[in-house]
Amino acid sequence: MSNNNKITVSKQKELTFSETFDFCLSSIKHRFFRSILTLAVVVLAVAFFMYLLTDNVYRSSLRTGVGDEIKQARKSTVLLNILLTKPTQKEFELMLAKSSVNPELKKMLVSVLKSDDNKISEMAELARSKKRYLRFFKDMKIGQRKLLIGRLTGDNIFLNLIEKKNFEKFKDDLAPMGNLKLPGGYDSFKSYLTDYKNYIKKRNQLHKEWNEAISYLLKQSSDITGSRPLKEVLASDSPEDIKKVQEFYKIINNAGFNISQADYNGIIKEMKKGKLKESIILKLNKPEIRSEWRGIFKEKYKKISEKLRVLDNSRVIKLLKDDFSKEKLEMISRESRYEDELTDLEYKLDFGIARTKSGLSNKDIYLLVLSFIVCMVGIANAMLMSITERFREIATLKCLGATDMFILVQITIEAALQGVAGGILGVIIGLIITTLKDSLIFGTRLFEYFPVSGVGMAMVVSLVAGVLLSVFASIYPAWKAAKMAPMEAMRVE
């Protein structure tokens, strides 16, 4: 058993990573949950990180979903409005400006005005620039505005500035106002002004054409419906009226308002609902019903909007059963609750912190960075403590032939493993907390728009962050352990 050969000394062989890893696994499995403190810090940090990320993901996905819903719900009203009212010059300009971001509206403009796509796009861009310049004038202080443009408003501002003399004066006046930046700079404003008269002419032409188209529509509709308002006919259920409604649809499409059948049906449905709602409100406002209502609900649900929400109450259904069927009442109450709910969600989503473009607010980022620093110090401290406890063990390992590198790698691997375990635990805890909290605020809507990929991404990011956090925090303690003298093993407690 004794080696009696002459000693030849060479470098100690370094263990491979996988050998070190195996060693760590076998030694860590007994020690793992003893270092609860370190683990707890990692769990907390990752849970907090997860909470911030997931909350953000939930909100943005809800915002998109609910936003689309609201848009859809309001679309039919907007469409009907477009069809049945002649816009003022200002309103028409707004419509033009909107068409540059709304392709459907642009298509409608192109076909109704019998123009081509490029021309409308150009006009839309010009309208948008005008909107931007007007906002620039509107946002400045009163004194500045007075100096620059006097009391002029709207088109007159631009018409005034077209003259070269006025523009030079405007330029000189604006130059010392350092905080005011003309959007796009002077040159593009100047070229905009040179085109302005042309633009006004074209715009007025288009506006006239549009109004003619609307007038034609209105005339046609009154031809079809006679003295009754169109809205009433649209909402009617009689076969005659249904025929008229279909006729009107043909007229609209012939005039170039390309409205899809689905959207048109949406309008009709909306009208019907409106009519039903109106008649219910009329009924509810009758004195005998009002007194009955008070008998049922006492002081509750006094406002008409509140009343509409509780129409599906069995006593209300009983009260109104002579005039309205149960299904209709339920539908209206559901609809009004839904609208309220959407407005409510919208409010909740926009309430609170102003969010930056990346999704996380400055406050969130500040909290994140701060919590990371605190956690890193906490983990480093806990690791140092646990290494001080294991001083003798590490020194003994060195007495048995472990190299500095081995100790360094071993402790870093242990930290990384701890990071993985703490990270997984933290991700789960963070996810549960966020989901609970947001489902309390947003209800089942949260799960309707559950962002699976977003949450998955947040999980991966948090986990990686947790592992990196532990590894970074372990660098100093690991280095300290690696540099320890093997003589420490001799110490007797």
Binding site: N3, S27, E393, G401, M490, E493
Partner: protein, 254 residues
Amino acid sequence: MAFDPKEYAKGKEVLVRVFNIEKNFVMGAETVKALRDVTLEIYRGEYICIMGPSGSGKSTLFNMIGGLDVPTSGRIFIDDVDMAQLKADELAFLRCRKISYVFQSFNLNQVMTALENVTLPMIFAGKHPDDARKKGLRLLERVGLGERWEHRPMEMSGGQQQRVAIARALANDPSLILCDEPTANLDFKTGKDVHNLLYDLNKNEKVTIVCVTHDHDMLSVSDRMIWLSDGKIERVELSSEVEIRKATMTKKTK
């Protein structure tokens, strides 16, 4: 029969050569001289005890021989290898294969089984895990713990733990085993067992053992004793002489 170094050295091969070493510890403004001009030779296959009162510098000498510390001046050779010339990873190599330690408080890894503890140095030496396991089992059998290879240190008595530590020290067939008060934490009987084991290893397996101890019972198993006092070698004795003296002393008291 007085001890004659020249006579004793005849036909023996020198394993450790200690040349005029001094060690100073600086403690604040004071300098403590732990070792003053110690010169010593240890031969292959020998069993040596280093004795002395606390503060005599025996632990310091032990650390120097084991390559755990460097002397302030003087040189130490193990098999003609100058310890002062070695780099950190070469020292690690030396500690892994050529020198083994047995500690007073056993220093076993508490979370590992006896077998895992014994195979540890072999893993560091790059031995295949299966071979390491086989050899570990054989070594545990050798120290009389073949049945208990699966037990953890917590489940063993002090004597058993120390025997596991000795098995671990034998793992890479070292040239030299350094024992730092191996029986100080043990009771009389288990201490005796450890003595016998070390004696057995020294006589039958020709393992060179250097033992720092307070325990006078260890004298009976060793070949030679080195008495340190105040950082100097006071005297060197053969254990046979001490045995005789002890015997006469006990006779006298009777």
